[in-house]
């Protein structure tokens, strides 16, 4: 959890100070995949802090992040978001939609390429923070 908190702080600073890209949403998705239902408070607070830092209406990002979390947890068994390919496709769709909704930016090839790259890196990092993400802590016989 500590690792995700550090990533969250970094993500909020990058998103609100340097470039309008939903780093926080990416970290929230990773946290939900890694921590499951225990991530709800983390997701809620991530939204609140992002709203305060970005001077947006407080509660909006929390609502969006909680909705995304609910979708992931509801359909995880069917879609298996922990699979890199499925996860990256889901992230591409969610991040593109969020970017258009909040930042009013067009989605181009560079954006998609950057999203794929950063998602892949976050998957690898999240696996170190919580091996549950890819099932590497499962009992082996």
């Amino acid at each position: 959890m500590r690792g995700f908190v550090i990533l969250l702080i970094l993500g909020i600073i990058l998103e609100t100070v340097f470039f309008p890209y939903p780093y926080t949403l990416l970290i929230v998705i990773m946290a939900v995949l890694a921590l499951g239902v225990q991530s709800f408070i983390f997701v809620f607070l991530a939204g609140i802090f992002l709203d305060i830092f970005a001077l947006r209406m407080i509660g909006v990002d929390s609502l969006i992040f909680l909705a995304v979390s609910a979708f992931i947890l509801r359909y995880n068994r069917r879609i298996n978001f922990a699979n890199y390919f499925n996860g990256i496709v889901f992230i591409l769709i969610t991040v593109s939609f969020y970017t258009f909704l909040i930042y009013k930016r067009i989605i181009n090839i560079q954006f998609l390429g950057f999203t794929v790259l950063i998602s892949y890196l976050l998957f690898i990092l999240a696996n170190y923070l919580s091996p549950r993400l890819t099932g590497s802590k499962k009992l082996r016989v």
């Binding site: 340097f18 309008p20 997701v43 970005a54 001077l55 209406m57 407080i58 009013k104 930016r105």
Partner: protein
């Protein structure tokens, strides 16, 4: 767990309601100075790193531009002397005719602390900033104040899709500057009969909230279809927003 989830959803909705009624400001007010300080330190300390890719990829252009700018600086110095003489002559003529001197703007200096979709500056309502004020860098318009707290303000940039600024070209053609998805600006709703050429200077027309004759940019590309009533043009901005460190908020006296 479902109970926890719905509880958090309801809490989010309550927070949205509180923020809409501006009640949440009582709580967030305490965090504002710290947030502003953090953003200020991070942005100002890392600002010079933004130049690195630009320098690497545009080295030859930069050397040429430095030479041209030195020439312009010398011309500028000569023009300043001429302007001073003309101002003195203008003021004395106005006094003779009994006409009032033009109103002067009050400029409130501010430092940029963040650039995302909006620009953030480190002054707010405590410094006299209110919503709708123009923000300039030199004589070039950067944007308009969208939101303020006591210690920081959000500036809506000219490239923002939600901002429309009435503008006029140096040939007198009127239209509106509209942002396009945070990437560039378009000078729209220009009548077909009005003259519009490449490199025309575009500035604010004074209609709406913004003062007039603030520079916006120059025409880079014209889109015209004779069958349409209006034509439009893509505008090249005088500013690179990500490289701006200091701006001024225009408060009319």
């Amino acid at each position: 767990m479902r109970k926890k989830f719905f509880l958090l959803i309801i809490l989010s909705l309550i927070l949205i309601g509180l923020d809409y009624l501006k009640i949440s400001k009582i709580f967030t007010k305490q965090a504002e100075p710290l947030i502003t300080e953090i953003k200020d330190v991070i942005y100002q300390r890392t600002h010079h790193l933004k130049f690195v890719p630009t320098v690497i990829f545009n080295f030859e252009n930069i050397v040429t531009e430095i030479g041209e700018k030195q020439k312009l600086t010398n011309e500028n110095k000569q023009n300043r002397i001429k302007i001073q003489d003309l101002e003195e002559e203008n003021n004395s003529l106005r006094k003779q005719l009994g006409a009032p001197l033009p109103p002067e703007f009050k400029f409130i200096p501010a430092e940029v602390i963040a650039i995302s979709r909006y620009m953030e500056i480190n002054i707010g309502s405590n410094n006299g900033v209110i919503q709708g004020m123009a923000v300039v860098e030199g004589t070039t318009l950067v944007g308009k104040i969208l939101k303020t707290t006591e210690v920081r303000s959000q500036v809506q940039l000219l490239t923002d899709s939600d901002l429309s600024v009435p503008a006029i070209s140096n040939r007198g053609s009127r239209g509106n500057i509209v942002g396009q998805l945070g990437e560039y600006m378009v000078f729209k709703d220009v009548l077909q009969k009005d003259p519009l050429f490449l490199e025309d200077i575009i500035m604010t027309s004074g209609e709406g909230e913004l003062p007039k004759e603030l520079l916006i940019g120059s025409v880079a590309k014209i889109d015209s279809d004779d069958a349409d009533v209006y034509k439009s043009a893509r505008i090249k901005s005088n500013n690179t927003y990500s490289l701006i460190k200091k701006v001024f908020v225009v408060a009319e006296k």
